[in-house]
């Protein structure tokens, strides 16, 4: 129980216009992990975060933060949470440092100049501290939002699409920063539709689609469980069709490259069939000039899950 920092039970949300954003969501976030919530646009990611943080009202179900209900004990639960919203919503006339100071005040904390300085330096914003926000670039505004979210020294940090509009270099800096926070004991929940981001960062991954949790698992397990490997064999001579001797194997000819045949297999299986395949190729008198294997990415896994949920 102490290991669960957030518990979402049977949470549903129907918006005033009648659209069902979330349906009976059950989700547990463990203390100290980086949890990535993946899903296509409109899947309900932001709604789910909004309800946990108290800016969207739920229709039914409950959210427990460190065992306390987020509506009844809102003062306690909100003081544990920092939120980096998706929208760049900032008071554009305020200087950076004021924005952070006010945010700390809203949470009932006394001013802490050392913390503000540390956070601004970590975000490479210290030299911009007196600059009005309207003069900042999009990437800097995103970092101001992160800085704001850290002002109450949260145990739980929500990052809603943190790398939207952020360039590659900055994205890597941000990932580094998130890892540092995790190492200090902060639990991180991030939503993204950049699969790469989840693959890079997450300990566990939840996939949400059409307001339902399609799957939650450890990233490694998910990759192993669903990850297929593809063996690509480059032949000396191009093939028009698969020879009868190889018909027993699940082979395809790479359409764009007729020299290549592709064999997809489960890397975790007891018998991958590779030895038998190679023997059969020898029997069919084909000559292999090169070979290569690739692991399917989280992106492919994600697409296949979303496809499956569409078909079901």
């Amino acid at each position: 129980m102490q290991n669960h920092i957030i518990q979402v039970n049977e949470l549903s949300k129907v918006y005033a216009d009648g659209s069902q954003a979330l349906t009976n969501i059950n989700l547990t976030i463990n203390k100290g992990e980086i949890f990535a919530l993946l899903g296509p646009n409109g899947a309900g990611k932001t709604t789910l975060i909004g309800i946990i943080c108290g800016i969207v009202s739920k229709s039914s179900g409950e959210v427990l933060v460190l065992g306390k209900d987020n509506v009844i004990d809102f003062r306690f639960t909100r003081s544990q949470i920092g939120l980096v919203p998706q929208e760049l919503s900032l008071d554009i006339f305020l200087p950076v440092i004021k924005t952070l100071e006010y945010q700390r005040g809203f949470y009932g904390h006394k001013p802490n100049a050392a913390l503000v300085e540390e956070v601004l330096k970590a975000l490479s914003l210290w030299d911009k501290k007196n600059t009005p926000i309207k003069e900042l670039s999009g990437g800097m505004k995103r970092r101001v939002l992160i800085g704001k979210a850290l002002m109450n020294e949260p145990k739980i940090l929500f990052l809603d699409e943190p790398s939207a509009g952020v360039d590659v270099e900055l994205r890597h800096d941000m990932w580094e920063m998130v890892r540092t926070l995790r190492d200090r004991g902060t639990t991180i929940i991030l939503t993204t539709h950049y699969i790469e981001e989840a693959e890079e960062m997450a300990d566990r991954i939840g996939i949400i689609d059409k307001g339902k949790i399609a799957l939650v698992d450890d990233k490694e397990k998910l990759m192993q469980k669903l990850g297929k490997k593809t063996l690509s064999l480059q032949l000396r001579d191009p093939l028009k069709e698969i020879p009868p001797l190889l018909a027993a194997f699940d082979l395809t000819i790479d359409k764009s490259r007729p020299h290549h045949i592709l064999y997809t297999y489960d890397a975790q299986a007891a018998h991958t069939g590779i030895t038998a395949l190679l023997a059969a190729i020898k029997d069919a008198n084909l000559t292999i000039s090169d070979l290569d294997t690739t692991t399917s990415s989280l992106e492919e896994i994600f697409v296949s899950i979303i496809e499956n949920s569409k078909n079901s």
């Binding site: 108290g54 909100r78 939120l83 919503s89 008071d91 006010y102 945010q103 005040g105 809203f106």
Partner: protein
């Protein structure tokens, strides 16, 4: 209670006043001062006196009350509407702040802005008309109470408004006419009986009368009735706001 949070909302909103000093303070002061220069000193000298006070002095409490009402209302309504418009209202909604703390923070900031404006107008009026205040403590109490009530009213409008058009609607179409017809420039017994009776339904009339009693010790209605009418407005707005924050109407989706 999250006192620091409440104070931070107050501080942020009140500091905003100085950022837009010209628009927020100077412009209402100038427009009000113009009224008593033109109506009070220039035209008023032809009118003589109302009761025991000169006409130039007679209109001062009404003009101050109109400034308090319009400025406390516009400060709170534009303050909260702006936060909603740019999305930063989630900063206070996701913070450990109750509706009472949020509303009080905004209301105190708007009230303070209105009182600053009211004080400046009073000082200028004093220089022009040498006006003295019969009941200074009551006047200050009544000015603060009315400013808070209209700050709450402004918050309901700011939360309710879905665009700038709606935000401007209530002050322009309802508040300004009610203020002008609420007896700033005349005593109600100067009106024909029909208009006298109609004025009794104008809430602003009681507020102007209340402050006028504070200034001169005499007015169209008693200070108790005036205070009661302000309290009614205050309580009604507080109930509406409580309901809005409870249900999330126009605040949370």
């Amino acid at each position: 209670m999250n006192w620091i949070g409440l104070y931070t909302i107050f501080k942020k909103e009140f500091e905003r006043t100085w950022g837009v000093f010209m628009q927020a303070v100077l412009s209402p002061v100038i427009s009000t001062v113009l009224y008593f220069v033109v109506f009070g000193t220039a035209i008023g000298s032809q009118i003589g006196s109302v009761g025991s006070v000169s006409y130039a002095q007679y209109i001062v409490p009404g003009l101050i009350m109109m400034a308090l009402i319009t400025n406390s209302m516009s400060a709170s309504s534009s303050g909260i509407y702006f936060q909603k418009f740019i999305g930063t209202i989630i900063d206070v909604l996701s913070a450990p702040l109750s509706y009472i703390e949020i509303v009080t923070g905004y209301a105190l900031a708007a009230m303070s802005r209105a009182i600053v404006i009211g004080m400046i107008i009073y000082v200028i009026a004093f220089l022009f008309t040498n006006i003295s205040v019969a009941h200074p403590l009551f006047s200050l109490f009544f000015a603060i109470l009315t400013s808070i009530a209209f700050a709450l009213f402004g918050l309901t409008i700011g939360l309710w408004a879905k665009d700038f058009e709606q935000l401007a609607f209530v002050p322009t179409i309802i508040l300004t006419p009610l203020s002008f017809l609420g007896g700033i420039f005349y005593s109600v017994d100067m009106l024909p009986p029909f208009w006298q009776n109609l004025t009794m339904f104008n809430p602003i009339f009681y507020m102007i009368s209340g402050l006028r009693w504070g200034f001169f010790g005499e007015a169209d209605v008693s200070p108790i009735i005036a205070t009661a009418s302000v309290l009614i407005l205050l309580v009604v707005c507080a109930i509406i706001l409580r309901w809005m924050f409870r249900t999330g109407y126009k605040i949370k989706s």
